[in-house]
């Protein structure tokens, strides 16, 4: 009974907020994804990074270890994904970003926050940021066919990371007014991203399900196994291990769909992957939490 309550504390808020977003879109209430994304990307996410790391007392070693584990996990996703796609004769430009970059932001952050509090959120943010850097370098390169560093340098979160690293190294604390401000602004991120996830799910156009289902299953199955293996390899335990496993096993990111749409790489198939893997996740997430809690 205690276990079920503990699981619902984590899963229900995530599910409910996404459901609110889904209903919001179905009711045709105004939701301008461009504006919300822009607010989160430019203001909310950098503020959340600054405020979260000011709040927690995690050793630089623990953070570096998690960053290493995240890098290893993304690399493994890339290699495995590429191998499977080659074997199945599918175009990596369309499917690799979807397999490689899980939904570590909209879903991974709240799950880790609700399961482990601010420490979990901070560790999940490390995993998330490594993914962001990956998406804006490797993801864009794969989908667009050319490499560009400009997108990454225009990402305000990168500068928040740099400031956070400097603060950590010099042992400086944010002044109270700056902490309050970033804390307030950072509060936008998690709820709006969950609502946006629901809105996006409501608007997905899905054509064929067959391939989407197997690729979605690959994303989730590969995620759990790679997460467990990487956590073992890096000798992680407790919250760090749980965060690596949870983040690795997140469903296909909605941003992969946006990329596919932007570069015209089978967006409807990717939409199917997003929908199916997110749907499966709502069922398997409690099991996954039981595994790591």
């Amino acid at each position: 009974m205690g276990m079920i309550a503990e699981l619902s504390d984590v899963v229900l808020p995530v599910f409910l907020c996404a459901a609110i977003g889904f209903a919001w879109a179905k009711l045709k209430f105004p939701f301008n994804n461009e504006i919300v994304t822009s607010l989160v990307f430019n203001i909310g996410a950098p503020a959340l990074i600054l405020a979260t790391f000011a709040k927690v007392e995690l050793s630089p070693t623990a953070l570096a270890e998690l960053a290493g584990a995240a890098l290893a996990a993304y690399a493994a996703f890339g290699v495995i994904g590429l191998a499977v796609l080659k074997f199945a004769r599918l175009a990596p430009s369309a499917y690799l970003p979807a397999l490689m970059f899980p939904l570590t932001g909209s879903m991974g952050l709240p799950v880790c926050l609700f399961a482990f509090g601010p420490d979990g959120l901070a560790l999940a943010l490390v995993f998330f940021m490594i993914g962001i850097i990956g998406i804006f370098t490797i993801g864009v390169t794969v989908a667009a066919g050319k490499f560009s560093l400009a997108t990454l340098l225009r990402t305000p979160a990168i500068y928040a990371v740099i400031v956070t690293v400097i603060l950590e190294i010099t042992g400086t604390e944010l002044p109270q007014w700056a902490f309050n401000t970033t804390d307030l602004l950072g509060d936008i991120v998690i709820p709006t991203q969950l609502i946006a996830l629901g809105v996006a799910l409501a608007g997905l156009k899905v054509s064929s399900m067959g391939r989407s289902v197997s690729l979605a299953a690959l994303r989730l199955g590969m995620g759990v196994l790679v997460g467990l293996a990487v956590a073992e390899l890096f000798g992680l335990s407790g919250t760090a291990r749980a965060v690596v496993v949870l983040q690795s096993a997140m469903p296909v990111a909605v941003s992969s769909y946006l990329f596919a749409q932007l570069y015209k790489r089978e967006p409807e198939e990717v939409a199917g992957m997003v929908l199916v893997s997110t749907g499966i996740s709502f069922v398997t997430l409690p099991l996954l939490l039981m595994l790591v809690l």
């Binding site: 907020c17 105004p30 301008n32 504006i35 109270q176 401000t181 804390d183 307030l184 936008i188 998690i190």
Partner: protein, 291 residues
Amino acid sequence: MLAQIASIIAPIFLCACVGFFWGRFDKPFDSRMVTMLSLNLGIPALIFSTLTKLEVPIDAFLRIGGIYFIATLCALIFGYGFCRIFRIDPRTYVPVLAFSNAGNMGLPLSLFTFGEEGLALGICIFVISSICGLTIGPAIFSGRTSFDVVYRNPPIYGILAALLFMAAGLQPPRWLANVTEILGGMSISFMIISLGVAVSRIKVQRLARGIMLSAVKLMLGFALGVGIAESFGLIGAERGVIILVCSMPVAMHNYLFAERFDRNSSEIAGMVLISTAMAYVTLPALLWFVL
């Protein structure tokens, strides 16, 4: 003391600045979406989350809400008297003089000044203020009364749900607390950002009268707040929050109703802008007074 005041004012000021420059740089913003998200999800969640977290005794809520209701009635009467004396249209200016910005500015200021206790009081006041502002306000602007505005106000349902839990002496389940906490957190930042955006887009007309009326609003509110606090013998956070909220600048919704009922909306928008700017200057003195 100064650091404490800075930690209270700076977040609001900087959040509003974010909105202001967002608007100034013509970045896309959808006030209707943000208002709908705040009014339908954020504020009800915020009210529910705060009230159930704090176990505010219902009698305290009824008390501080009742006191603020009396303050609002007094503000309406004084506002009407002022409009009669200076021969300006009461249907346009009474709501502007009477209704303070208890949401965008009152809530975060109450939170930062008196912590969670202040936020709970601020929310009690905000509920009364929004009920009055969203019913009496449009009634004055439009010239008719409308009851459907009351039951179509989602914050009412947030508070009803919270009152149920409080009356039963129950804590909401953790998942519900989690959901309402994050949705509530969203609404505070959203409201301040949208305040900044709105202020950046308002065309300032008839500046002199706007400045004069804004100063009247702030002084009237402060005098009323102190008078009410004294006559009810309030102390500590209760006294502070009542005075704070009464002294807040012109409420944003006045602009929306003025626009809807075609009553000098650009001048009222200017008053929102000017009184907000003035409040940023008067805030340090005000906070020093109430702390």
